[in-house]
Symmetry: C2
């Protein structure tokens, strides 16, 4: 079927997809500061009026464009807290090394310091990214593998903290020896 | 002495100080994206030509304006690695809770992902911030208080990692109970 014959609904979906794709492109290239409705309109060929009809604000557009960022990997089920934590941590390290969201997240963290709507976006992304750690922690607690006074927040901070520190602050390589030490150290303290 | 009678050198110093102060103001209010030479010129009353005479680029101006950010606190000397690490970590937590640089650093981390000159700025700030951890770690090693296979990088990642995670990612309060647990956990693993 020729494009001119497409239903209005199909054309609307195609416009929205183009706008979201260009928003994510700009976000990847220049961070949140690099996304303007003018530029998204120019690149996607969708008018600003149409963009604003679908998303009432730049923040709303950013929220939807980021909705696939850091989508959580499947939760491992190796039978032990140690095995699950190692698998999850290695997957997180791999994403920090190579996923596009790892270069985009700092601009969202920065925006969250100042813009409440984007602080909400950041909170959602963070919750989604860390959710699997919650699942394996609760499972370990149910099996009695976790010290009684330890909460999921401690597990996440003990594992993700050092990984994030290396990726975005000391900017050292996230090599597998480091990742292994982080997991072993966390297990010594949390079990 | 009236201002009109000031030497050229004094006037130059006063202009530079005004430019640096306004740059830091804009940085605090809106992150690196909020700093433009136009706006710094407007607010400081110093012409763009003069600004560019002192700083060849916006990045060079940002580097100098940030030179006092995260200036390292005095290195504690309590006589033990545990005491020193606790004192340093509490001071870092206090700065993360209240210092202005804690709201500015995310924009520098973000810029470091894309702009090499600002990656250099970030590396300098980070090195300055973490330097005291290096001093107390080396002292502990000399006294035989540290496991032989542990490097300063591990100490920094084990302590600053969870603190940074709470401040900028999970955005939970950096309460003193959490800070104490981070120090105790680090000591269990590193000693």
């Amino acid at each position: 079927m020729a494009r001119s014959g497409d239903s209005i609904d199909v054309r609307v979906q195609r416009s929205k997809a183009a706008v979201l794709a260009q928003t994510y492109e700009l976000l990847s290239a220049g961070g949140i500061g690099g996304v303007s409705i003018d530029e998204v309109s120019r690149r996607s060929g969708v008018s600003k009026t149409t963009i604003y009809r679908h998303w009432p604000s730049r923040a709303a557009l950013l929220v939807e464009a980021c909705s696939t960022i850091g989508s959580a990997p499947p939760v491992p089920d190796t039978g032990s807290f140690g095995g699950d934590l190692a698998a999850l941590t290695e997957e997180l390290a791999e994403q920090l090394r190579s996923a596009r969201w790892a270069a985009v997240l700092p601009s969202i963290v920065d925006a969250a310091e100042r813009e409440p709507e984007l602080a909400g976006l950041h909170a959602d992304l963070h919750a989604r990214l860390m959710a699997p750690f919650g699942v394996v922690t609760e499972r370990a607690r149910a099996r009695g593998e976790l010290a009684a006074d330890r909460r999921q927040d401690d597990v996440s901070a003990a594992v993700a903290g050092p990984l994030f520190y290396r990726r975005w602050y000391s900017r050292e390589p996230l090599d597998s020896a480091f990742v292994r030490r982080v997991v072993e150290d966390a297990l010594v303290r949390l079990r």
